[in-house]
Amino acid sequence: MSSFTSFLYNSIFRRNTTMLATVFAGAFAMQLAFDTGSDRVWDSINRGRQWKDIKYKYIQKAEDDGDDDE
């Protein structure tokens, strides 16, 4: 534990530049995680109601009718 914390301190918090870089990288990672996570929650709440869930019914019908555009 002590070696881990000292490694953490020496690698990240010792220099302001690495600290800043870590903060911005962390912000980027947080945004990615938040966006994908909230999207997944939204999709799971609205399962079966969105266009991408029911698209296959209409796209197949369009192909049966003829070579229409999507």
């Binding site: 914390t5 918090f13 911005f24 962390g26």
Partner: protein, 237 residues
């Protein structure tokens, strides 16, 4: 009368002589009195009575970290500071992004910004006028002789000098905005003195490359952004 005056004067003098040392003494006691003496003269019961000095610094040793290095509580402080900074930068970035996205074109505008045309339906030597962003666009499928005529023109001496190669991507397809550069009328195709377009409003003549040759218009017909993504298809915009 004088005797009375003398007596009052003497009384007054003796009073001042008497009172002065008392005042001096009280001054001295005020200056030199310490906390221990206060309770003898004041009814206020001081919580610090009996103590020599009121300044007693408590010992925080029990709360101090024994570690000499930077890890431990300080690491947690740094971690919290960094997390706070990351959240703040995330919020700032989202705010700025929202404002910028708000300024950019919306999806319905972008959907109308491009037009795709099937070129196979246009026979050689024919004009097609399509609507793009509310304006007419001329598409001319030029014949070999028209291409040769457009390329052989001495364009250096024209009013708006521009070579035919600068105005077309494929020589057989001439694509340009159908808006006269004079006052914005729509020129008539296959008309005029130079076999190209003729503006009926004020008599501007454009040649088969859309260049102004005669009349009041100052510039050649404008060429929009277009691309040939595959053979027989053109995307304007």
């Amino acid at each position: 009368m004088p005797a009375l005056a003398n007596t009052t004067r003497a009384i007054a003098r003796s009073w001042t002589q008497h009172s002065l040392p008392v005042a001096r003494a009280s001054c001295g006691t005020m200056q030199s009195r310490s906390i221990s003496e206060v309770h003898t003269t004041s009814s206020f019961d001081s919580p610090f009575k009996g103590q020599g000095s009121s300044t007693k610094i408590p010992n925080f040793g029990a709360y101090k970290s024994n570690k000499k290095s930077e890890d431990g509580p300080k690491l947690l402080q740094y971690f919290m500071v960094g997390t706070m900074g990351a959240l703040t930068s995330l919020g700032a970035k989202a705010t700025v992004q929202d404002f910028l996205v708000n300024m950019s074109a919306s999806a319905d505008v972008l959907a109308q910004a491009k037009v795709e045309i099937d070129l196979a339906a246009i026979p050689e030597g024919k004009n097609v006028i399509i609507k793009w962003r509310g304006k007419p666009v001329f598409i001319r499928h030029r014949t070999e002789s028209e291409i040769k005529e457009a390329e052989d023109t001495k364009w250096e001496a024209l009013r708006d000098p521009q070579s035919d190669a600068d105005r077309v991507k494929k020589p057989e397809w001439l694509i340009m905005l159908g808006v006269c550069t004079h006052l914005g009328c729509v020129p008539i195709g296959e008309a005029g003195d130079f076999g190209g377009w003729f503006c009926p409003c004020h008599g501007s003549h454009y040649d088969i490359s859309g260049r102004i040759r005669k009349g009041p218009a100052p510039l050649n017909l404008e060429v929009p952004e277009y691309d040939f993504p595959e053979d027989g298809k053109v995307v304007i915009g």
